[in-house]
Amino acid sequence: MHRVTKHFDGTSAVADLSFDIPDAGAVALVGPSGCGKTTVLRIVAGLETPDTGEVWLGDDRVAADGKLIVAPHRRRIGLVPQDLALWPHMSVTRHLEFVLGSSRIPRSDYRNTIDETLRLARIGRLAGRFPHQLSGGEQQRLALARALVVAPRLLLLDEPFSSLDAELRTELQQELVQLRRRLKVPMLAVTHDRQEAGVLADSIIEMRPAPPALRA
């Protein structure tokens, strides 16, 4: 991300931000509510476009100066949003099938890919269930499996464990670290919890709310 700015209705959300995520590295954006962390994540995902500046994914320039160059679904990014956004009408398996439907993976390989991903996420026995039939931790694992099933170029996490109790949060943080290292997927995580950032990421970027002058 290079010199990115973003305004909403005249208010600055991101001001001249630049950073890199190394191959297989993990970066955490930390800061108080309203400092623009989630906006940065959405710009990387392609759900918002930067007003100025550039976003690169590997060697591809995916957005620049108000233009969306590569659509979100062509970036091969895995996203775990804060509310997980699980599709209530789809079973666990169907979630992954839907994601694979846009990939280049042959349909004959779906079964193996899904089984392997569910096994990694430790929800293999829940394949036929729907989101409302899963516990909070299982829902979190499904959201992660959905993000990882197509071997993404980058994994984005928005306050991934904020809704879980302390014990489950610690357990899932450890699992995520191990999983990411094993799969060698670079990651950008957003959190307001410094301790969580320390566990998940190799480096931390601290964000502050834009100064009043930029909010006019």
């Binding site: 392609g46 659509a71 599709w87 990939s103």
Partner: protein
């Protein structure tokens, strides 16, 4: 929910009034047709079920309902989706204009289309009812499209094209509410009396009316009512189940989901909206105006029409007030105190609204034509009773929805602070649901002003309302005079809506 004796009394009075006025007439007809001396006889039901003429009646009724629902869906689904997802500036104005056909009594639309096309047939009735009820599907589609969480769509957009996201995520989530609205159009179409009556289509509602009012055959009328009430109840239950499917969530403030932003989408949406407004409102009103131009000033149509208009206004205002008051109690009960059987209660409310007007009318006559009730029966009070019987369920549904949006804690805090139920109701709850109360009153007024099937049966001899005047004049007065009164009817239906839309728009601008 905290216990309170005054609140219990308020709800009990409301439920008793609702039971007596809305539930009893339909229940009486059902019971009579099954158990009463004039009802259940194997011969009467054998005639209904096995007679070829009756089978044709059933086929016509089903074709009318299914056809109207499909036409309404064909127009309403794309428009509703466009209102929700195409960023058009004047979306509120478009919504009000597109919803206008709902306010116009369907038989007036049928009359206008007779002037335009001169067709008396089942397909014509299907088209008129589909074009009259499409706003229900449109508004439901818009609400569903707005309620599908943008987060869910964005999670899909990360891996799939917008079209795949719409097909696999958005539409499946919207579908239960949209299907429920189509089922509602189906039940409203099969319960409609004015349009098939005017367009000479033989369906159950017209046959019930003929059996009772022309042939004086109560037994035949009740026997004919049964399949209609059962079909209405079954479809209303299905609609209620679908509406409770509960897959919709509110959009979060940040996420956009799939929006059709391109300029070409805006042009297509605006053209489609204006085309629909012209066809469904502009052409019918224009046709009535063209016919009305030939009316002789001060003759025929207008003599006596003044009293009919006054009767309509007074009875509709009274019905709106009573239905809203009773609907508040019933809606409060439904929203706050019912924890089990919500699907069944909502289905009952929809069924009661959709019970054919002629069936309600006969039920009211059977129940109210007694010496003890002569102070009301045989007066214009019966017209009010008829409208309250038919439209209180609508008020109850609207107000239950509004009350559910108000957190119960606001009432509990007031009660803990020492306020009695009356103060809680007047100072805490009602101020928070004032727009819904106004909407309920307005909707009941518009519906009561256009009511014909029940009114034509219960109105006293020598008295008339505007719809009855128009309906009875159609057969024996010049088209120009009928059209003038029909235009008055349209104006009475549309002006309050336009006034409210203008006031709201001005307030928003301020």
């Amino acid at each position: 929910m905290f216990p309170d004796r005054s609140r219990t009394t308020f709800i009990a009075i409301g439920l008793a009034a609702f039971g007596a006025l809305s539930v009893l007439p339909a229940g009486y007809m059902l019971a009579q047709s099954l158990l009463g001396p004039a009802g259940l006889s194997p011969d009467a039901y054998a005639a209904v079920v096995f007679d070829a003429r009756q089978r044709q009646l059933l086929a016509n009724t089903l074709q009318l309902g299914v056809g109207a629902a499909l036409v309404a869906a064909l127009i309403g689904i794309p428009l509703g989706f466009a209102l929700a997802r195409v960023p058009v500036r004047a979306v509120r104005v478009l919504r009000v204009l597109l919803a206008a056909p709902l306010a116009v009594p369907p038989y007036i639309l049928a009359l206008a289309w007779v002037y335009i096309a001169g067709s008396y047939s089942l397909p014509a009735a299907v088209l008129v009812l589909g074009a009259g009820f499409f706003p229900l599907v449109m508004l439901a589609t818009e609400a569903a499209a707005r309620a599908v969480s943008g987060d869910l769509e964005e999670a899909g957009l990360m891996v799939a094209t917008p079209l795949r996201v719409l097909r696999n995520i958005t539409f499946p989530l919207m579908w239960p509410l949209v299907a429920a609205s189509m089922l509602l159009v189906f039940v409203l179409a099969i319960s409609e009396f004015g349009v098939p009556g005017l367009l000479r289509v033989r369906v159950f509602t017209t046959e019930v009316f003929t059996a009772f009012a022309a042939l004086f055959d109560f037994r035949q009328a009740t026997a004919l009512a049964l399949p209609l009430v059962v079909l209405t109840a079954a479809v209303a239950t299905a609609a209620s189940r679908l509406a409770h499917a509960g897959r919709l969530t509110y959009r979060s403030g940040r996420s956009h989901g799939v929006r059709l932003r391109g300029r070409h989408w805006r042009i297509v949406a605006v053209l489609a909206a204006f085309g629909t407004i012209i066809v469904t409102v502009g052409l019918p009103v224009g046709a009535l105006a063209r016919e009305a131009v030939g009316a002789t000033r001060g003759a025929g149509a207008t003599s006596g029409a003044g009293q009919a208009i006054v009767n309509s206004v007074i009875s509709s205002v009274a019905a709106a007030g009573m239905a809203t008051a009773i609907g508040l109690a019933v809606g409060y009960w439904r929203a706050r105190l019912v924890t089990r059987g919500t699907v069944a209660i909502d289905a009952l409310l929809v069924t009661l609204f959709a019970v054919p007007s002629t069936v309600v009318g006969i039920g009211l006559i059977a129940l109210w034509n007694r010496a003890a009730l002569s102070a009301v029966y045989g007066t214009m009070g019966m017209v009010v009773v008829g409208a309250v019987a038919r439209f209180t369920p609508v008020a109850a549904v609207l107000l239950a929805g509004a009350i559910r949006q108000v957190t119960v804690t606001t009432e509990e805090v007031a009660a803990v602070g020492g306020a009695g139920w009356r103060r809680v109701l007047l100072n805490v709850l009602i101020p928070q649901i004032r727009p819904a109360l106004a909407a309920s009153g307005l909707v009941v007024f518009v519906l009561a002003f256009g009511e014909i099937g029940t009114t034509i049966l219960v109105s006293p001899p020598g008295e008339s309302t505007l719809p009855i005047r128009v309906y009875t004049m159609i057969a024996n007065a010049p088209a120009s005079q009928v059209a003038r009164l029909a235009l008055v009817q349209v104006a009475a239906a549309l002006l309050p809506l336009l006034a409210v839309a203008t006031v709201r728009s001005a307030r928003r601008a301020a």
